[in-house]
């Protein structure tokens, strides 16, 4: 069997059903053998970055690793942003790149680049394969590494001559053990008991839940611990959906664009229990001013290196979130008698600092678009947001009650992520309605993938929140950089309805509130992809927001009279 067949056979053994890729000189042998493996569906993207984001969206929506093919040099380098996006958000992915033949590696051959070197800091692990016999072992290890522990992308760079080489009989064994890779899954029982005691001993506790809760499917266990202990729960941006937003104990999203009542709760808590999260700068804002009244931090995460990376916890539980919360549940005590005061205080903050927006200037408001969208989708659709204002509006103005319905590039903040990721999500979950929410700036960065949507009639509905500018940057310039609007104007853009038509999908423009409903009706009634160009208020802003470099206490809300 040739190396190329070994790769494809190994993918079949691992249960791969779909590959997002792009052929080129250094992976020709793989593509030559691909038609002989009809179980593997291949989606030809229009740019390799699109392939990486599609694989990412597929992985986030299904929990299975997304698979990417690309050629050497520019092909592989076009994956870097997508690999980083997956790496920052702990998304399992396997990228298989062609490399120049072993005889010319290191000689600046045509389309040669040091892909291992270029991707080292944005992959969980990587392999350069120079011997055909290594292929089965490398692929089985890659799947084990990508999908277990804290998931992440793994890159396999295979020289072209190795793909072509005859490798003898194919023997495949699934990897489950590696000497240097032992994910900590089970919690230390002494520590979880202690965590439950600390929770019971706190007067103003807050639990914050991150992506780890969703990745480990710990939402039921989280709900149980929260309800039994009477502890309010906020989520990170990537944790949105880990705790139902309408629950009386819900604090909604935390961090520098979090809700006012969440910020108040965090800043007044005497105990913070962080579950499955990195406690990054978007959560804490200015670190030295974060949670100033907290006497203790409990940190639960599967990655030991997160302990003390940003915040030094008083109690560390290095474990899978679901197993840690399951182990903790029996020790969790009912809340003390005075817990009502803390919850009443939080309710008061919720009243005092509600999410709000203004329609006073007569423009179409993004929140109205999202509210109508939520009304018709409820908890059934997957929403994939891009980066910027659209992302935060989509996080805050939907009442997510289940995990896995809101996907976005939280850590990397990759513009152009949403549309290809939404396609990948829909390929993985054809049973779910999938919506893409994006600004016009991010959308055009990967809009070439409209051809993929049309070619495969992928019924992703694109909600373009078009404010004719780089809205988040414009808001930062207005609010924090002296009002100097510098290079954020995007009034010269294609006519998006015509653009969609040129690609071969239906589209519609919406300028007024009354047009929202019929536009969504048409989008939902149309089979296949559909784009709605919502021309929203160019001055609409995201609130609350914490000025860059400030502490959470300094959060701004919608100015009065706006």
């Amino acid at each position: 069997m040739t190396g190329a067949d070994m790769v494809l056979e190994a993918l079949e053994r691992e249960g791969v059903e779909i590959i997002f890729g792009y052929p080129g000189g250094a992976n020709l042998p793989l593509y030559q053998r691909l038609p002989a493996h009809p179980k593997l569906r291949h989606i030809l993207v229009r740019h390799e970055q699109g392939a990486a984001h599609m694989a990412d969206g597929y992985a986030r929506a299904t929990g299975r690793p997304g698979i990417v093919f690309a050629t050497s040099g520019p092909g592989a380098l076009n994956l870097v942003t997508g690999l980083c996006t997956a790496f920052m958000d702990s998304v399992p992915m396997i990228a298989i790149t062609g490399q120049v033949p072993t005889a010319v590696v290191g000689r600046d051959a045509f389309q040669e680049s040091d892909v291992i070197g270029c991707t080292q800091s944005v992959t969980k692990h990587s392999y350069l394969v120079t011997k055909v016999a290594d292929i089965p072992r490398v692929i089985s290890e890659a799947f084990h590494i990508a999908a277990t522990g804290r998931p992440g992308p793994v890159l396999i760079d295979i020289c072209r001559d190795v793909q072509q080489a005859e490798g003898g009989d194919f023997e495949y064994s699934y990897c489950s053990v590696l000497p240097g890779y032992k994910p900590a899954l089970e919690p230390d029982l002494v520590q979880v008991e202690r965590a439950a005691e600390m929770l019971a001993g706190a007067r103003r506790p807050v639990i914050l839940a991150g992506h780890g809760v969703i990745l480990s499917h710990a939402e039921q266990e989280l709900l149980e611990v929260a309800e039994r202990s009477g502890t309010p729960v906020g989520t990170t941006l990537l944790g949105v959906g880990a705790f139902p937003v309408q629950h009386p104990l819900a604090l909604h999203m935390t961090g520098f664009m979090g809700t006012g009542w969440n910020i108040k709760a965090v800043q007044n808590a005497d105990l913070l229990m962080m579950v499955g999260m990195r406690v990054d700068d978007r959560v804490t804002a200015k670190l030295s001013e974060w949670a100033p009244k907290a006497e203790s931090f409990v940190h639960i995460d599967i990655d030991a290196s997160e302990m003390g990376k940003n915040v030094r916890p008083h109690l560390e539980v290095v474990a899978d979130a679901k197993r840690a919360l399951t182990a903790m549940a029996p020790y969790v005590k009912p809340p003390p008698a005075d817990r009502g005061e803390w919850l009443t205080q939080i309710d008061a903050w919720r009243e005092e600092h509600p999410l709000k927006y203004s329609r006073s200037n007569g423009h179409l408001q993004p929140q109205d678009v999202l509210i109508d969208m939520y009304r018709r989708c409820q908890d059934e659709a997957i929403v994939v947001a891009d980066v910027g204002q659209n992302q935060i509006w989509a996080a805050l103005w939907w009442n997510y009650t289940k995990p896995g319905l809101f996907l976005n590039s939280g850590g990397s903040g990759t513009m152009g992520f949403a549309f290809p990721a939404a396609l990948g999500a829909k390929f993985g979950r054809p049973d779910k309605d999938v919506w893409c929410v994006a600004g016009e700036g991010g959308f055009v960065m990967t809009a070439q993938e409209l051809s993929v949507a049309v070619e495969h009639q992928v019924p992703v509905k694109i909600v373009l929140l078009n404010n004719f500018s780089l809205g988040m940057v414009r808001q930062f310039q207005d609010d924090f950089y002296g009002g100097v609007r510098s290079e954020v104007d995007l009034t010269v853009m294609p006519d998006f309805v015509k653009l969609a038509e040129a690609y071969g999908l239906k589209a519609r423009r919406v300028d007024r509130y009354e047009e929202i409903k019929p536009a969504f009706d048409e989008a939902q009634a149309t089979p296949g992809p559909f784009l709605i160009d919502f021309r929203i208020d160019p001055e609409a802003n995201v609130y609350p927001i914490v000025p860059l470099g400030k502490g959470l206490d300094d959060f701004w809300e919608l100015p009065n009279g706006a």
Binding site: Q120, S121, K124, L128, G180, S305, M307, G308, R312
Partner: protein, 150 residues
């Protein structure tokens, strides 16, 4: 040895690129590594590294954990506070070899070239001692270390 210096013993898989992974991680996490030494271990296919890190406890804890995240890193051990032996090798080319080098336990290797194996503090002292004799060239390995037998 400087009081802030901490010593890590690291067992790694002897794959091409593993040094690049270790040094790349150290660079991008902003850690300050004083020395790295690497050589084969007793286990086939595995190498032993000794790192000295200029850091307090908290930072070295992050270095160890970040190193441990690398798939090819099998074991990381902070042996700073353990009873250890630590040695490094120095060779120096001098204008003139002083007859008293032997008081440091050094010896002459070739004409004008001396060798010393000692702990890093003694190596530093020895360099100071040599300076008046005209150091033309100097090479040192950085320390290797291990725990003392219990």
């Amino acid at each position: 040895m400087h009081s802030q210096l901490r010593v890590l013993r690291v067992l790694v898989e002897d794959n091409p690129g593993v040094m690049a992974r270790v040094s790349g991680m150290i660079r991008r996490r902003g850690f300050n590594i004083e020395t790295i030494t690497v050589g084969p271990s007793t286990e086939p296919g595995r190498s032993r590294m000794t790192l000295t890190v200029d850091a307090g406890h908290a930072e070295v804890d992050q270095v160890a954990k970040q190193l441990d995240r690398l798939i090819e890193v099998i074991e990381v051990e902070d042996i700073t506070d353990a009873p250890t032996v630590s040695r490094e090798l120095l060779i120096a080319k001098l204008d003139k070899v002083p007859p008293t080098v032997e008081q440091y336990g050094a010896r002459q290797l070739a004409t004008g070239i001396v060798e010393l194996t000692a702990d890093s503090e003694t190596v530093e002292e020895f360099i100071e001692f040599l300076k008046p004799f005209g150091i033309k060239e100097l090479a040192r390995t950085g320390p290797v270390a291990m725990r003392r037998s219990a």
